[in-house]
């Protein structure tokens, strides 16, 4: 198989890229990230697509997502390849949505897609059919990774097939196809396999069939039930008919007895009516008699008819009131006389010294206040008067003045002392601040000095670098160029005069030399130096700017001197102030010594004690004078008031006088109050007396009036009249009641009518007895089954007989009614049974009808179910056959061929011998997932893969992979694809490996992807022909200078 050309529409970073390969050795050399691996994946995808193998549905490999086009719109490839002399063009759209592939035969471009069947993954076996390997296996076989083999089981299947089929075909696709077909049939009820579909439908139909069967069973059961109900119904209907017949008989008997009893009852009614008629006549006669008696009694009390009811009571009441009023008038007149007497008594004596009526309450209060003030002033004077004669002395005055002066001096001294101490503290604080600032200034000076030194250093380095830059690189060449240029130019100029051609040539050479000098000058500066220079310059600039922002040294010195001066000044001021403080303290001490005081506190105590004594004496004298003035003013007030009232004030005892006047005034007020009360009582008494007298007169008049109206003299006579009147009233009422009754009786019928009624009843009775006699039997005791021996003509006995008969008939009727009730109850019970059974029957019929029409018939369902079971059996058999085929195939494959390992080992050993120059041999174990082991030829010792160096290990895998490649190239030589497979080889190993690949490339196409150029060099050196496939390189960004530093 030879890949001729790969066109990538879109795959990873590649878009519309074409790669043409030669049949032999192809070298694809490009740096990392250039897209080599993507190209390799694109080639695999172009040949096989991007779907998983060994699955029965469309499932994409992880590569599908990984290599989605970055920019291209289409996700697809076109590959042209050659197999067994045929050239194919395979177009693929890899997009999941547009998943499509088409195979053409070149050069005629015949579409042969449909010659390759499509499997369930929607993939056709183009390449697989042509070379016998699916994608997974092709990748394991053709891509020579220095790694363990994956999917070794499948490879082994293939290898076994290779042995068995004489390298013609493989058993693995058969196994795979059988497995696929078995899966396609399905084994469980999950998924959409035919077996699952049948199972599910079978389950549904079974359920439906079971329901239908239940319905059918239910229907049969209902039919059974219906039959039972019908039988019961017939029986019940017969019972009901019998019951109804018995009931009809009982009812006829009851009707006959009812008629009999009615006649007996009529007779009884007539007898009762007869009794009532006799009574009514007697009642009428009695009423007429009663009325006559009442009329007679009424005539006896007719004189009391005119009496007005209530007069007697009213007259009694009035007489009582008149007596009570007369007694009250007498009492009140006596009381009035007593009051008048008391008033007269009060008027008699008035022994007051002052006319109190003229003295106003305000004046009196003013007088009392004046007396109080006078009394108070006198009392206080008496209190303070004891210390008379203690006037303040002159010595006190002088001492006090001296003390005050000393106090003022002391206070002044102390104030000054405080001020001085503050000044001293301030001066000290200032000095401390100045010293701190001086320290800061010194730091700044140091910093500035450092910075200045750094700037100087950098300047020096810059200078040096610039000089070196100027000297370096171009220096030599430039100088030689210039020198030679100048020399040739001069010589050329000189020669031109003599030999123009040589001269011009030499001049041209000279010019070239000059040009060389100039070019080197321009270009020779090393980039590195320039970078350092730039960085330094930037730093120097920064430092210089920082220095400029700091104050200059002169300024700093000036500040320092000024601070120094200020500190000195502050120190001096502090010392001066301290001196003053000491002087002031001495002055204070002297002052205190004068007063014998130890300190200022002692002095203040002395001062306050002395001063308090003097002040106390002065205050009492002033108080006495004030009290004298108050007393005088009070006396004036009270004397004026007393004069106005016509009383001589008593200077010796104004308080006693005031007390006497107060008693007199109170007595006056009390007498006044008593007189006013008496006056009020007399007025009230007089008014009440007048009222009672008026009432008394009215009552006397009313009493006289009542007595006159009744024509009697006394109240007692009036009472007798009232009693006569009550009797008259009662008789009148009784008479009217009797009259009313008579009237009522007359409405029912008067005496004649009542007699007529009695006669009528007697006639009717006679007539009824006649009817009974005419019927042949007296009101029939025999009817009710008993003898009745009675005289029908005697009224009472007739009535009694009728009653007994009625009672017997009634008893019989009750018995019959009971029987009727029992029958009715029985009937209704049976009727209920009948109705229930009828309802049951119709319900059953309805239910049966509903069941009959409900759902498909059980036979149809059973038919369907059996068909489904047959289908399930068919599928089971089909699967069983395939499974047997598969098992047998595997068994045969296993038992027939066990010679996979020798062939593979032979091939691998050949390769290993080549690439290790016979140093190592290799052992492949196909049954252990293609495990490999190295055999060191010299010692014939086996070395496991992990005990080898990386390079040897890689060689081991290389040998295995090449062996597989060769083994599977039984139809057509498969291409060998190497993606940086020799990265860990040293040069010697590489030489040998490439030499071997060179040999291999004569039969197999080789595509070697590498990121280094040593493969190219070795190939050249070994003289192996190869085609270099260029990958379009993207421009590589220049590396910035700064990023290196």
């Amino acid at each position: 198989m030879i890949v001729r050309q790969l066109f990538i529409r879109g795959f990873g970073k590649w878009e519309n890229a074409t790669f043409t390969f030669s049949p032999g050795f192809n070298l694809i050399e490009a740096p990392n990230e250039a897209g080599k691996t993507t190209l390799l994946e694109a080639l695999l995808a172009a040949l096989y697509g991007l779907k998983r193998d060994y699955v029965s549905q469309r499932k994409f490999l992880p590569q599908y997502e990984r290599y989605k086009p970055w920019t291209a719109k289409a996700y697809g490839t076109v590959v042209e390849y050659e197999v067994l002399g045929q050239v194919y063009r395979l177009e693929r759209n890899l997009d999941r949505q547009k998943d499509e592939s088409r195979l053409f035969l070149l050069p005629e471009m015949a579409d042969i897609t449909r010659q390759y069947p499509q499997d369930r993954r929607r993939e056709r076996n183009f390449v697989e059919g042509q070379i016998g390997l699916n994608r997974t296996l092709f990748e394991q076989v053709a891509v020579l990774h220095p790694l363990p083999v994956e999917h070794a089981d499948h490879l082994l299947d293939h290898l076994r097939g290779l042995s068995a089929f004489g390298d013609e075909t493989s058993v693995a696709p058969l196994v795979e196809a059988l497995e696929r077909e078995i899966r396609a049939i399905g084994k469980t009820d999950r998924g959409q396999t035919p077996y699952a579909v049948v199972l599910r439908e079978m389950r549904e139909v079974t359920a439906e069939w079971e329901r239908a069967q239940q319905r059918a069973a239910r229907l049969r059961a209902l039919e059974q039930e219906h039959r039972r109900v019908r039988t019961q119904l017939a029986e019940v209907e017969r019972v009901v008919a019998a019951c109804e017949e018995r009931l009809a008989r009982v009812r006829a008997e009851m009707r006959r007895l009812d008629a009999l009893r009615a006649r007996e009852q009529e007779r009884q009614v007539l007898l009762e009516r007869h009794q009532r008629a006799v009574a009514a006549l007697a009642e009428w006669n009695e009423a007429v008699e009663q009325l006559a008696q009442l009329d007679k009694a009424l005539a006896e009390v007719s004189h009391a008819a005119a009496y007005r009811p209530g007069d007697a009571e009213r007259a009694r009441e009035l007489a009582d009131r008149v007596a009570r009023a007369e007694q009250a008038v007498a009492e009140w007149e006596a009381r009035l006389a007593a009051v008048t007497e008391a008033l007269k008594e009060l008027e008699k004596d008035t022994p007051f010294t002052v006319d109190w009526r003229a003295v106003s309450a305000a004046d009196w209060q003013a007088y009392e206040r004046a007396v109080e003030r006078w009394q108070e002033a006198t009392a206080r004077l008496a209190q303070v008067g004891e210390e008379k004669g203690h006037a303040p002395g002159a010595v006190d005055q002088g001492e006090r003045a001296a003390l005050r002066g000393a106090l003022r001096a002391l206070e002044a001294h102390q104030a000054e002392l405080r001020a001085l101490k503050e000044r001293l503290a301030e001066a000290q604080r200032r000095r401390a601040a100045f010293e701190a600032r001086r320290a800061a200034l010194r730091d700044q000076q140091q910093q500035r000095a450092d910075l200045a030194r750094r700037v100087a250093d950098k300047e020096a380095r810059l200078r040096e670098l610039r000089q070196r830059q100027a000297r370096s690189g171009g220096k030599g060449i430039r100088r030689v160029g210039f020198a030679l240029g100048a020399a040739f130019l001069a010589l050329g100029g000189a020669l031109a005069l003599w030999r123009p051609l040589w001269g011009v040539l030499l001049a041209a050479l000279g010019l070239a030399g000059l040009a060389t000098g100039l070019r080197f000058r321009a270009a020779a500066n090393g980039e590195e130096t320039r970078a350092v220079l730039e960085l330094l310059t930037r730093e120097w600039e920064a430092d210089r700017q920082a220095l400029a922002t700091l104050p200059t040294e002169d300024e700093l010195a000036r500040d320092d001197a000024e601070l120094e001066r200020q500190i000195t000044e502050a120190t001096r001021e502090a010392e001066e102030t301290a001196r003053l403080v000491r002087g002031k303290e001495r002055a204070v001490e002297q002052l205190l010594a004068q007063w014998n005081c130890a300190d200022a506190e002692d002095f203040y105590a002395l001062y306050h004690d002395t001063l308090r004594e003097a002040d106390e004496r002065e205050r009492q004298r002033l108080l006495r004078e004030e009290l004298q003035r108050q007393k005088g003013r009070a006396w004036e007030t009270l004397a004026a008031l007393l004069a106005a009232w016509g009383v001589v004030p008593e200077a010796r005892d104004p308080v006693g006088q005031a007390e006497r006047l107060r008693i007199e005034r109170n007595a006056y007020a009390e007498a006044e109050a008593k007189r006013a009360a008496l006056e009020r009582e007399r007025a009230a008494l007089e008014q009440r007396l007048a009222e009672v007298r008026a009432e008394l007169e009215a009552d006397r008049a009313a009493l006289a009036d009542i007595l006159a109206r009744n024509g009697v003299e006394t109240v007692e006579a009036l009472a007798e009249r009232a009693a006569a009147h009550r009797r008259w009233t009662a008789l009148t009422a009784a008479r009217s009641s009797v009259a009313e009754r008579l009237e009522a009786l007359a409405r029912e019928g008067d005496g004649r009518a009542r007699q007529a009624a009695l006669a009528e009843v007697e006639e009717a009775l006679a007539s009824l007895s006649g009817v009974a006699a005419a019927e042949g039997e007296p009101a029939s005791g025999q009817d009710v089954g008993e003898e009745a021996e009675e005289d029908p003509h005697a009224q009472d006995s007739a009535s009694r007989g009728a009653e007994e008969r009625v009672a017997r008939i009634s008893a019989r009727l009750v018995a019959l009614r009971r029987e009727e009730e029992a029958l009715k109850e029985e009937l209704s019970r049976h009727a209920a049974d009948r109705d229930r059974l009828r309802a049951d029957a119709s319900r059953l019929q309805g239910e049966m009808a509903a069941l009959e029409g409900d759902g498909p018939g059980p036979a149809d369902l059973r038919s369907r179910l059996e068909a489904l079971r047959a289908e399930a059996r068919r599928l089971d058999d089909r699967r069983e056959a395939l499974e047997r085929g598969l098992a047998l195939l595997r068994e045969v494959a296993k038992t027939v061929h066990r010679d996979v390992a020798p062939v593979l080992n032979r091939l691998a050993s050949e390769v290993m011998a080549h690439i290790t120059a016979g140093r190592y041999d290799v052992r492949v174990n196909p049954n252990e997932r293609m495990a490999v082991m190295a055999i060191e030829q010299e010692t014939q010792s086996a070395r496991s893969q992990d005990a080898l160096s990386r390079g040897t290990s890689d060689q081991l895998y290389f040998a295995l992979r090449v062996a597989l490649l060769k083994r599977f190239s039984y139809r057509t030589p498969l291409p060998a694809l190497l993606d940086d497979s020799f990265a860990h080889y040293d040069n010697e190993r590489l030489r040998r490996a490439l030499a071997y690949m060179g040999e291999l490339a004569k039969t197999h196409q080789v595509l070697l992807f590498t990121c280094r150029d040593r493969e190219r060099a070795v190939l050249r050196e070994l003289g192996i022909p190869f085609t270099a496939i260029p990958l379009v390189r993207e421009p590589v960004r220049a590396v910035a200078l700064t990023s290196k530093s």
């Binding site: 069947p117 076996n125 059919g129 076994r160 097939g161 068995a164 089929f165 004489g166 075909t169 058993v171 696709p173 058969l174 196809a177 059988l178 077909e181 069967q213 059918a216 069973a217 229907l219 049969r220 059961a221 039919e223 059974q224 219906h226 039959r227 049966m848 009959e852 018939g857 059980p858 036979a859 149809d860 059973r862 038919s863 369907r864 179910l865 059996e866 068909a867 047959a870 058999d877 089909r878 069983e880 056959a881 395939l882 047997r884 085929g885 047998l888 195939l889 068994e891 045969v892 494959a893 038992t895 027939v896 061929h897």
Partner: protein, 384 residues
């Protein structure tokens, strides 16, 4: 005067007809045809002036019968009066308590036998009809041995029973439902035993007098499957002093027909269809036809029986196509190859040879053909 009767059995009304794959409409029609056949039997009895109709079991399917079918049967019985109808229920329609035999009120002229021997004496014919009906699904004991004739003095004796005659030519094909031997039947002393259960009609001669018929299976009057091909019948009999004289009368409405079609040499499905069409040109369109494709065909030829069934569906009332074709693989050639396939074919052929039964043989044959299909074509070839 003799006793005239019509003897039938095994109608299996409302049987599921899953083997026919009919459309619902045709299925309903086919079910109706079974009822019509019963009606025809009853009509035949009337035409022949029969005294009795003897139904020896499996008249209908106990589980599946529709109420309407029962109503139809009752109506038929009513109409056929005064002909007496004797029914001996079988294993498909046992007289269980909920059976329609027990729950429906059958007309006066109908007698259903139950789980004990019963005898109905018909004085006008001087004939005793003895019968035993299944009252459960299976009766395994020999009931006939227990039979005692309560009216031995009657002139004619007829027995109706659903039973399987053991040691007959059908032994083993049927489960022993009410097993009975011909000797046991002879021992009862009756003149004729109307049997049911075996769907193929047959007359059983008296063991002592081979010229005389002792019992008979009338066969199913309407075919019930592919094994019951051709015209189906009932028996008409006259019982006289000289014995019973039986006449076989065709009654079936539709016949089952099975035809083999050799499709050897056909290379396309269309060619197969054409071959089939040519072969069945003469067949009755009303038949229930099964075509069995046989012969050796190109291994690549897919024989789609479903497709053929569809193409032929309109031509017949019912068509079933089954395929027994064999792919023309030269298996002997394969078997000689020293490859895995060769080994596989050898081994598969050995297993086919040694298969204990048909199913095993078929499964191994299918397995062999499947592997060869996949080997040759990369796919399975459908052959029905």
């Amino acid at each position: 005067m003799g006793v005239r009767f019509v003897h039938t059995a095994d109608v299996h009304l409302d049987v599921p007809l899953s083997h026919l794959s009919l459309s619902p409409a045709k299925l309903a029609q086919r079910r109706a045809e079974y009822r019509e056949t019963v009606a025809r039997i009853f009509q035949l009895a009337q035409e022949k002036g029969a005294h009795l109709i003897l139904i020896a079991g499996d008249w209908f399917e106990h589980d599946l019968v529709q109420k309407s079918t029962i109503s139809f049967l009752r109506e038929l019985c009513t109409r056929v009066a005064p002909i007496r109808v004797f029914i001996a229920p079988g294993n498909h329609d046992p007289a269980l308590p909920d059976s329609y035999y027990r729950t429906v009120e059958w007309p006066e002229n109908v007698h259903v036998f139950g789980g004990d021997w019963e005898t109905v004496y018909l004085p006008e014919l001087d004939c005793a009809v003895h019968g035993y009906g299944f009252d459960r699904y299976a009766v395994t004991e020999s009931v006939v041995r227990a039979f005692e004739n309560p009216v031995p003095e009657a002139r004619h004796h007829i027995m109706v029973v659903h039973a399987s005659l053991v040691q007959s030519e059908h032994a083993g094909e049927h489960d022993p439902y009410l097993p009975v031997t011909v000797e046991e039947l002879a021992a009862t002393g009756v003149d004729y035993v109307a049997l049911g259960h075996i769907h193929k009609g047959q007359k059983i001669p008296h063991p002592a007098e081979p010229s005389r018929v002792l019992a008979a299976y009338p066969g199913s009057p309407e075919g019930l499957g592919w094994k019951e091909q051709g015209v189906r019948t009932v028996l008409y009999g006259e019982l006289t002093e000289r014995g019973v004289k039986l006449e076989t009368l065709p009654v079936s409405r539709r016949a089952y027909v099975v035809r083999d079609v050799d499709v050897s040499g056909c290379e396309t499905p269309e060619a197969v269809l054409e071959r089939v069409m040519r072969q069945i040109r003469e067949e009755n369109r009303e038949s229930l036809l099964r075509l069995r494709l046989v012969g050796q065909v190109d291994p690549a030829l897919a024989v789609e029986v479903g497709w053929l069934r569809e193409r032929l569906a309109d031509a017949f009332f019912a068509v079933d196509v089954v395929s027994d074709v064999r792919p023309a693989y030269d298996v002997q050639q394969f078997a000689q190859e020293p490859t895995v396939i060769g080994g596989f074919v050898r081994e598969a052929l050995r297993r086919i040879d040694e298969a204990p039964d048909e199913r095993e043989k078929r499964l191994w044959t299918d397995a062999l053909h499947a592997v060869l299909d996949l080997h040759a074509y990369g796919r399975l070839v459908e052959r029905g």
